[in-house]
C-alpha cells in the first residue's frame, strides 16, 4: 500500500519514470556521463601520450582507434568529454540563471521601465550572431580557462530564455489565483515565490536542459575554431586536430566521426528527456 500511496503523491514522477522517451533519454545520457566520469580512470593511456602505432582503426587495444601521431582516440574523447560537459554545465547554469532573472523581472513588471529596458537589451543580444561575438571576445583573450569560456558562452546564450520566461510569467500573472492573492493583499515577494515561481518549476527545468544543449553546441564550435580553453583537451579540439591532419582524406573516419557522434547522441538524448518531460508536465500531450 505504501508504494501505491507514494506514486499517488508523486504523480509526475510516476509519469516520468514510465515515459518511454524519458527512459531512453536518461539511459543514453547517463551512459555518456559515465563515460566522461569513469573513462579517464579506465583508460591506460594519457591523452597526449604516444599510445601505440598511429593510423590504426578501432581495435581491442584502441577502442576508437589511434590518431596519426599514435595517440589513443578513446582517451582523447573521454578527457575531452569531461571538459566539454563541464563547460556546458557551467555555461548552461549561468545562462539559465541570467535568463530566468531577466525574464521574470521584466514579465512581472511588464509595461513598466524595467521591462522596457531589459527587453531592449534582450533583443539586442538576440540579434547579434553569438558565435561571431564569441569569436571576437575569445580572439582578444590570449589565455582562457574553462570558467572564462563558460562565462563568455553564457553571456550570449541567455536572451531566448529571458523572452520565453517573460511570456510564461505574463501568462501566469493573469491567472485567477494570482489575482486572488493580490486582492487579499499578499506581499509581492510572496506572490512571486508561492504563486508564480512554484508553478514555473517544471518549465524552468526544461529551459535548463535546452540551455545545456545550446551552450554545449556553441562551446564545441569555439573549441573547433581553436578558441576554447587554452590548456587541456576538449571534444572540439579533438575534431580540430582531426581536420588539421586531414583525417577524413586519409580515411580515418574513427578520428572525426566518433567524437562528434557521441556528442550528438548526448544532445539527442537530452532532447528526448525534454520532450518526454513535456508530456509528463503537460497532461494534454500524454496520449501522443
Amino acid at each position: 500500500m505504501a508504494v501505491k500511496d507514494f506514486w499517488k503523491r508523486h504523480e509526475n514522477l510516476y509519469f516520468a519514470v514510465s515515459n518511454k522517451k524519458v527512459i531512453l533519454g536518461v539511459t543514453v545520457f547517463l551512459a555518456i556521463v559515465a563515460l566522461a566520469i569513469f573513462g579517464p580512470m579506465v583508460t591506460p593511456y594519457d591523452y597526449e601520450e604516444f599510445a601505440g602505432r598511429g593510423y590504426q582503426p578501432p581495435s581491442k587495444e584502441h577502442w576508437f582507434g589511434t590518431t596519426i601521431m599514435g595517440r589513443d582516440v578513446f582517451t582523447q574523447v573521454v578527457f575531452g568529454l569531461r571538459s566539454t560537459l563541464l563547460v556546458g554545465f557551467l555555461a548552461g547554469t549561468i545562462a539559465s540563471a541570467i535568463g530566468l532573472v531577466v525574464g521574470f523581472v521584466s514579465g512581472f513588471f511588464s509595461g513598466k521601465a524595467p521591462d522596457e529596458g531589459l527587453m531592449a537589451l534582450t533583443n539586442i543580444f538576440m540579434v547579434i550572431p553569438s558565435l561571431t561575438l564569441l569569436i571576437i571576445l575569445s580572439a582578444y583573450l590570449p589565455y582562457r580557462g574553462i570558467a572564462t569560456q563558460a562565462i563568455i558562452v553564457a553571456a550570449t546564450a541567455w536572451p531566448w530564455t529571458a523572452r520565453a520566461v517573460r511570456s510564461q510569467t505574463l501568462s501566469l500573472k493573469s491567472q485567477e489565483f494570482v489575482n486572488l492573492s493580490r486582492i487579499s493583499a499578499a506581499p509581492t515577494f510572496r506572490i512571486i515565490r508561492e504563486d508564480i515561481a512554484a508553478n514555473m518549476f517544471s518549465y524552468v527545468f526544461m529551459v535548463y536542459i535546452l540551455q545545456f544543449n545550446g551552450t554545449i553546441l556553441s562551446s564545441v564550435g569555439l573549441e573547433f575554431l581553436g578558441l576554447g580553453p587554452t590548456r587541456g583537451i576538449s571534444l572540439g579540439l579533438v575534431l580540430q586536430n582531426a581536420v588539421n591532419w586531414n583525417a577524413l582524406h586519409l580515411g580515418m573516419w574513427w578520428w572525426t566521426i566518433i567524437p562528434g557522434l557521441i556528442l550528438t547522441l548526448m544532445i539527442v538524448s537530452l532532447y528526448f528527456i525534454n520532450t518526454g518531460l513535456d508530456e509528463v508536465f503537460n497532461p494534454r500531450l500524454r496520449e501522443m
Binding site: 533583443n123 540579434v127 547579434i128 561571431t132 590570449p142 566521426i257 550528438t264
Partner: protein, 329 residues
Amino acid sequence: MGRYLTRKLIIYIITFLFAVTLNWAVPRFAPGDPIKMLLSRFEVMEGGKDILESFFVKTFGLDRSPLQQYVGFWRSLFAGDLGVSISQYPKSVFNIIRGAIIYDFIILLPAIILSWIIGNKLGAFSGVNKKADNFLMPVFYFLTSSPYFWFALVISYVFGIVLGLFPTSHAYSATMRPGWTLAFIWDFFLHWFMPFLSLFLVQLGGWAIGMRNMIIYETNTNYAKYMESLGATERLIRNYGFRNGILPQVTGLAISLGTIVSGAVLTQMVFSYPGLGYLMVQAIKQNDYFLIQGCFLFLIIMVLLANFVIDIIYMFIDPRVRHSYSGEV
C-alpha cells in the same frame, strides 16, 4: 504599421551602435594589449610607417581622449575605411570583404529559405501522420542536435570521400577561370553543393520539430474542434492549423538567424569555402585584427538586415500586427 516598423528599427539601430562600440572597445580594453601587438607588426613591414601615420592616428588616435577616438572610429567607418589587412597587405579590409560576401549569400540564402519551407512541410506531415512521425522525429532530433561543423564533416566524408561525388574544399577548382562558361558554372555548383547541403539539413530538423508541435497543438484547439463538429474536412482544419503555426515559425526564423550565421562560419571552415566566416577564422589565425573586426561588422549588418526583412514579411502575414499598429481595431 509605421509604428511597428519604427519600433523595430530603433532596436536594430541600437544593436548596430552596440556592435560598433564593442568592436571599438574590445581591442582597446582586452588583456594582452592587441594594439601594441599590431603596432609592432606594422613597424617591421615595408611601408608600415605610412600606415601608422594614416590609419592609426585616425582610427586609434592613441594620443587623443577616448571620446575623440570613438568619434574618429565612427567617422572612418562611414567613409568605408575599415583599415588595411595585415595578412593580405596592402589590400584594404573593405575590398577583401566585398569579394567574400557573395559566397555567404550564395550558400546561406538557399539553405535558409529551402530548409525553412521544406522543414515546415515535413513537420506538418509528421504532425498528422503517426506512422511517419515515429520514424521522422528521431531523424529530426538527430539533425538539430548535430554540431554544424561535425555534420559538415560527415557529409564531406560520405559524399566527398567515400562516394567521391563532390570536391571537398574551395569554391571552384584552382584550374578554373571564373566566368560565365558552362564548365565553370558546373564546377562552381559541385563545390557549392556540400556546404549548402549540410547547412540545409542541420536547420531542417529544427523547423520540422517546431511545425510538428504547432500542428498537434492547433488541431487540439477549440476552433479546430468546432470546425470538426461543423463537418469540415480534416484537410481544411489542417490548413488552418498550418496558417496559425507558421507565425511562430517566422519569429523563430528571425531569432535563429544569429545561430545560422554562426553555423555557416563553421561550415565554411570545414569546406574552406571562402565566405566571411572562413575569412574571419583565417584572420584570427594570423592576428589580422582589422579584418576580424570588419568581418564581425558585416556579419552583424547581414543579420540585422535579414531581421528587418523578416519583420516586414511578418507584418504582411500576421493580420494582428497589421491592424493593431495602424489603429484599425
